[in-house]
Subunit: 199 residues, 2 copies
């Protein structure tokens, strides 16, 4: 004996969510059936809408349902000569939350990874090339992740900038503010030492 | 700046899932958008179907999309004089997986909990009363959870059985097979001692 066919289908469908195994999917399915059918119906309809309507911003490649995202549709932001390159829409949100950066973005939606067959065109570097060529950018701030792939991607884009004689910079890596030294990994600490400044 | 309205809606909708907070919901939303739009569309349609069509088995109260669940629709099972009472559909599955029990079920979909306002009618005990009255049951096996509420619920149903002169039994509590004694909680160990048998 197993659950009814439709319940089994529901549990299987929930398992496409990252981090959700059979046990969690069962728990979710019964929770929705017992306590929140309206919420589940709303989730069903929002999921459908989102998958049908969310595409990439034509200019910066982040996810949005319009041709241009909020930032790319803002003339103030678009008149900036600074372009910040990040790997994901979540990174845009993280940078925005600092309230420090008022320029434009370009969202790679990933990073170069030859081993996975992800080359320059897969992360929109042809589109970025056109933006650099179009002029109006004085500096590209490379805010890719502090990983091997992120660093390699930043390096590749820095070379592209050189061709267009546009300055490229990389955000500083170091000890997080408020972090305790003893819990920082060695690699970060190495970066923190080599990036030290006279005070 | 925040995510686009539709992305925000998607993240909020995913947060109705048990154990899913803002960060997980974001991760899920972007995972689906980037890597599995077809899976998400399938989840959307299954969710809708399930919420619209899954109801309670008319006889045992478990969740199913038909009038009767697989077990209640099976004449062999329904001719049994044993009725096992459990709290949830997942418990039916657990008992079925032992392949030991071949009788009927009654699924409370909860337990008595006066503090939460959950009384006998809320867990279908009026329906259970009718089943006991209808005859054909010689023993009710109380397999509610080994919790205070599960035990109280079992006790309540045992009293109902007494009225109909039907034998009521409670599944044994004790040390799980393969469990190591040192990791068993004291309450379980107490049950294991008081339930000891001569070998
Ligand atoms: Zn944009
Ligand atoms: Zn049934």
């Amino acid at each position: 004996m197993q659950f009814s066919p439709l319940i089994k289908e529901l549990i299987d469908a929930l398992k496409i969510l990252p981090g959700v195994g059979t046990k969690s999917a069962q728990r979710m399915a019964f929770h929705l059936l017992e306590r929140n059918r309206n919420g589940a119906l709303r989730l069903s309809s929002v999921l459908h809408n989102a998958m049908e309507h969310i595409k990439h911003c034509e200019q910066c490649r982040t996810f949005c349902e319009n041709a241009l995202c909020e930032i790319c549709a803002n003339p103030k932001r678009q008149s900036s000569e600074l372009l910040c390159v990040v790997e994901s829409p979540q990174d845009v949100l993280a940078v925005e939350q600092t309230l420090e950066f008022k320029g434009r973005y370009f969202v790679l939606m990933g990073h170069l990874s030859p081993i996975d067959g992800i080359g320059p065109a897969d992360i929109g570097l042809d589109q970025l090339e056109q933006i650099l060529q179009a002029g109006g950018i004085s500096e590209v701030i490379l805010a890719t992740n502090p990983t091997v792939e992120g660093a390699a991607t930043a390096h590749y884009i820095a070379q592209m900038c050189k061709v267009h004689t546009i300055q490229a910079s990389r955000i500083a890596h170091g000890v997080p503010v408020g972090g305790e030294l003893e819990f920082i990994d060695g690699n970060t600490l190495t970066h923190a030492f080599s990036g030290r400044r006279v005070i």
